[in-house]
């Protein structure tokens, strides 16, 4: 009999702590009749030793994936055959040897099925209790004061366990509540209250019922969630959405929706296969999905776009609220005043959301870390991050090398910071735009928190090269304080390095990367953004770029795409009168498209022609210019708006195959966008707009792909596509089409945002590699 007995030693890395993983392993092993033990190794690793019948061992491993607690993530699994020791029974061993004192900080998880079931079940004490949570679900990071993740280190310490909760907490047989740090019940957990905007507390018996009624009546409510407040409102009534837009002074930025369940999602959107699993995952992100034509969602929710952002409820309160509103879906947009970060406190709500919300519904648990909703979209069929926050942050990534203790402050807009130690890179949650009041301070607060909880002594502080970024002062202060070296990293080099890190490209190896975005300060003091780099972590060369042109008015040209168009037209050899006559013919001189009309167009042209405007190779601005010329967008209300509208406009369009040529300039290849512009002008009246939109984006992709293929000669690995424009499907398709012809593949980051939210991670790798040299 012992003959058949075999033993396995498993090392599991990932989210395996703070999610009830060891009790689960215990159950799994016992259910398969295996003996052995499980032990925490620290550093987010667990070791499992099992022995028993081979068929049971196989079933155990299968169960490891299939039956794991919903939020558990197995990122690495090493299995080795071991000598059977003839152990009796299975035990959870106390952690004895710890490889690392530093553990992965668990992110916030959406409410699980079992907790939700209990809320609906009149026979449990959790019936109707919004903040029900267990080992498999509920907030973590957002309520942590420090590490480790123990109740007394979280905002739950204000809620001493009642007798019954304590009993559950101490009962090893209670799979979901045994040592689950965040548990509570109506007797001992957070309370929920309703307030008017002048801070008066209303006496409301059932806040969820009350909130649903107010929302149905068309009111806008501020509702406290996990990492901050939402603004909730009806998404089906134009007048309500319009009112919300007016109050938020947000003319066109899309509002996120929350839907009751995937059935409702199917009714308002067209989720591709697999989308529901993502929506229902413990991370519960916002997913951008194609709008379903004729759905009851107001056009004003996402004007000019063919997608809507949808998420599912992730707290009990949200779940019950969505069950009680007739539509089954609501606007749940972040509760902030435009130009400010999302509120996490009542004080903020009463100051910043006055005049926006009508009422407030808030629980009394403190939000320790602001954590926004994560946002993902599909790019050429693959999921990519637009914003990495709730559910994902602050999970770490493994670097392909040992790193000194380091800090990176990221970029300017839509950014996050990061810290590094050992072989780990820990990006902070999405913080936001550094030019908004309070955001640099928020970044500082989060970075210092990570420095403290991971006991880091930073040797390097990495910062972008841009002289005007608002986080430079913070970087300088941190460097001075820690006696660390301040290392400047070129923006697109950081983009490329982030993509390489994710793919664990070993140090020293070179890869080709297409880095496309709005703006990054170049080593030649011009504004880059449509680049092909050949990069290793420590250095890079600029192999190709888009054709440089001037941006009249600098950032003003990003807000008013017609200005960028004028710059591109000037660079394309059109004179002032030709430029004006085209603009006039296309109706682009009206005041809603260029605020000061013809005079502004002339001034803009002259700024470009006289060289008094910054030079750029930006993909973002090139797309803006084309969107303006095609009459698709002429104002930027939010980041990437014109490009997103251009992408939407290309849907269903026929690609006519035009590809801009590659020219040679200053020792690099440049994509002939002036040629592209002339092609567009020639075809404006001949081809449908959607055909032109499809052709120009795919064509730009093809040209960059061709340039990258030349740059990648003799190099290993895929070509990486990074930067904010790397999420654009037609461009990525164009790049892939061109690369395929050379037998090459392209890869877009999937674990980090391809945009500036991923910059900090890349900055760390570059800075570390430079330090090595």
């Amino acid at each position: 009999m012992t003959k058949a007995r075999r033993a396995l030693r498993l090392r599991v890395a990932g989210i395996v702590q703070g999610v009830g993983f060891r009790p689960f392993i215990y159950r799994l092993a016992v259910s398969r009749g295996l003996s052995g033990y499980v032990v925490n190794l620290g550093g987010s690793e667990v070791e499992i030793y099992v022995e028993g019948q081979p068929s049971q061992l196989a079933s155990f491993i299968e169960g490891l994936y299939r039956e794991r607690p919903p939020p558990a993530r197995i990122e690495e699994l090493e299995i080795e055959e071991a000598e059977p020791q003839g152990l009796d029974g299975f035990t959870i061993r106390r952690s004895e040897r710890r490889k690392s004192r530093r553990s992965m900080i668990p992110p916030d998880f959406g409410i699980c099925r079992d907790c939700l079931r209990e809320i609906h079940d009149p026979s449990t004490r959790f019936h109707g209790y919004y903040w029900n949570s267990c080992a498999w679900c509920g907030p973590r990071f957002s309520m942590m004061y420090t590490v480790p993740y123990d109740r007394e280190n979280t905002a739950m310490r204000q809620y001493p366990l009642c007798r019954e909760c304590r009993r559950d907490y101490e009962d090893p047989g209670n799979l979901r509540r045994f040592h689950a740090q965040g548990i509570s019940c109506p007797r001992c957990g957070p309370r929920t209250h309703v307030y008017t905007m002048d801070g008066r507390r209303l006496d409301v018996e059932d806040p969820v019922e009350w909130a649903a009624e107010r929302i149905e009546e068309g009111y806008i409510l501020a509702i406290k969630g996990v990492g901050g407040f939402h603004l909730a409102a009806l998404a089906s009534r134009d007048d309500v959405v319009e009112e919300l837009r007016r109050r938020k002074r947000r003319p066109s930025k899309p509002f996120a929706l929350m839907a009751r369940d995937c059935g409702v999602v199917q009714a308002i959107a067209e989720p591709p296969p697999g989308a529901c699993e993502v929506l229902e995952s413990a991370e519960r992100p916002i997913l951008l999905l194609p709008k379903r034509p004729g759905s009851p969602v107001s056009e004003l929710v996402a004007p000019g776009l063919d997608t809507i952002g949808v998420m599912l409820p992730y707290t009990g309160f949200q779940a019950l609220l969505l069950e009680r509103v007739r539509d089954g879906f609501l606007i749940m947009t972040s509760g902030n005043e435009t130009g400010y970060p999302m509120c996490t406190t009542l004080e903020c709500v009463f100051t910043h959301l006055r005049g926006i919300a009508d009422y407030v519904v808030a629980h009394d648990r403190e939000i320790v870390h602001r954590v926004d909703d994560s946002v993902l979209r599909y790019t050429d069929g693959e999921l990519v991050f637009l914003r990495r926050a709730r559910g994902y942050a602050p999970m770490w990534l493994y670097a392909p090398m040992e790193l000194p203790d380091m800090v990176a402050v990221g970029a300017e807009l839509q950014t996050a910071g990061a810290v590094a130690f050992e072989d780990k890179v820990v990006p902070t949650q999405y913080i936001g735009d550094m030019d908004e009041p309070g955001q640099v301070e928020e970044l500082e607060r989060e970075l210092r928190w990570f420095i403290e909880v991971y006991s880091l002594k930073p040797r390097v502080v990495a910062v972008d090269m841009h002289p005007g970024y608002h986080n430079r002062g913070l970087a300088a202060r941190l460097a001075d304080e820690y006696g660390a070296e301040l290392v400047e990293v070129q923006h697109h080099h950081a983009h490329a390095a982030a993509a390489m890190l994710e793919d664990r490209v070993p140090p020293g190896e070179k890869r080709a990367a297409i880095t496309i975005d709005g703006t990054g300060y170049g080593t030649d003091a011009t504004v880059w953004g449509g680049e092909v780099l050949v990069a290793r972590y420590s250095s890079f060369t600029r192999a190709a770029s888009l054709y440089p042109f001037r941006l009249p008015g600098g950032d003003a040209a990003a807000k008013w795409p017609v200005k960028a168009l004028i710059g591109l037209m000037q660079a394309s050899g059109l004179d002032e009168e030709e430029t004006l006559s085209i603009l006039r013919r296309r109706g682009l001189l009206s005041r809603d498209r260029l605020p000061h009309g013809e005079a502004e167009a002339r001034v803009s042209y002259r700024l470009a022609a006289s060289g008094r405007a910054p030079i750029t190779t930006s993909m973002g601005r090139t797309l803006d210019a084309l969107a303006a010329l095609l009459g698709i967008a002429w104002r930027r209300d939010y980041e990437g708006e014109p490009a997103m509208r251009l992408e939407a406009a290309a849907r269903g369009g026929r690609d006519h195959g035009y590809t801009p040529r590659l020219l040679s300039l200053d020792g690099r290849l440049v994509v002939d966008t002036p040629g592209l512009l002339h092609w567009v002008i020639e075809n404006l009246d001949r081809l449908p707009t959607r055909d032109i939109a499809a052709t120009v984006q795919r064509g730009l992709g093809r040209a960059l792909g061709e340039a990258a293929a030349r740059a990648a000669r003799g190099l290993d690995g895929p070509v990486y596509i990074a930067g904010g424009a790397a999420v654009n499907t037609p461009i990525v398709q164009g790049i892939r089409e061109a690369l395929r012809g050379h037998g090459l593949e392209a890869q877009v980051p999937r674990r980090l945002p391809p945009g500036d939210g991923g910059i900090a991670a890349g900055q760390l790798l570059v800075a570390a590699a430079r330090l090595e040299e």
């Binding site: 300017e412 002289p467 504004v527 600098g554 980041e639």
Partner: protein, 353 residues
Amino acid sequence: MTWYVRLWKFITLAHGSGGKETEELVKNLIVHSVPPELWKVEGGTGLDILDDAALIPAGENRYIAVTVDTYTVKPIFFPGGDLGRLAASGTINDLLMVGARPLAVLDGVVVEEGFPIEDFKKVMESFIRTLAEERVALVGGDFKVMPKGQLDGIVIASMGIGMVEGKPIVDTEIRPGDKIIVSGYLGDHGAAILAAQQSIGVDLGVESDVKPLTGLMLPLLERYRGSIHGAGDPTRGGLAMLLNNWAEKTKTVIVVDESRTPVRPQVREYAEMLGVDPFSLASEGAAVLAVEPSKAEEIVEYMHSLGFKEAAIIGEVYEPKDPRHAGRVLLKSVTGGVRILEPPSGELVPRIC
């Protein structure tokens, strides 16, 4: 030396823009090279405060005020004035802004070989006429010619001397609660100069506001000297630079209400066309004051009576809620919302991604 300066390799035009870069360069590469005990004359002010003019004690409640500036402008003759009037007004105004009565000026003129005598004559006449109108003496100077190509046209350096009788106006006395007052339309000079430039010219219909502010400041000082805590002329870098300097020097937060700040519509429009902040455009005939709150209304009314019809209270000085916010200037915009009014940078580098 700060990180900001550590990363520089060459002097660029941005360093001479009068914005953030200029300030950093002056502080790090000049001020810090001077032994601190020589930053000022005992009992006076100097590089320690970097106010419009330095103060040298001259007996009980009396100070000599001195200032120097180098003037260059393209075009040399512009709507509303010329280089000569600009140099004279600038020097006079710098003296007035520390509470001094301007007395005398010395000039240093450097001209490029080949510069038309006719133009030189016009510039110098204008310089001298402006001084004479304000009864300011020209007591000495220097004149040089540089070979063709080594200088573009003409540069005037002008040093002014004045006398403070009573309390000088030293910007470090600005305190929370003070009201910020401006004497009139802002940015006219900057807009007029840009519009007059060939390459980006438009018919703006706005002239430079260049003028000495003697007629405003001397009567104000007469009546309200004790209530004026700070004064400055928003020349290069405009209101944005001036207020950021004040906020930084006094570790305060200054909040400005855009809707109450007088800017001509054409100037605002033109600034928008160029993609520049109208508040960073230069004025050469406007004063910004920080005054005792209880006297603010009265002072504004008095300014109106002196012919400065657009004078207005535009903002207030606050104690920072968070010490990290010290030195910040916030702008309540017309459309609602608040944004940080940054010190202008000489480099117009886009940040929007």
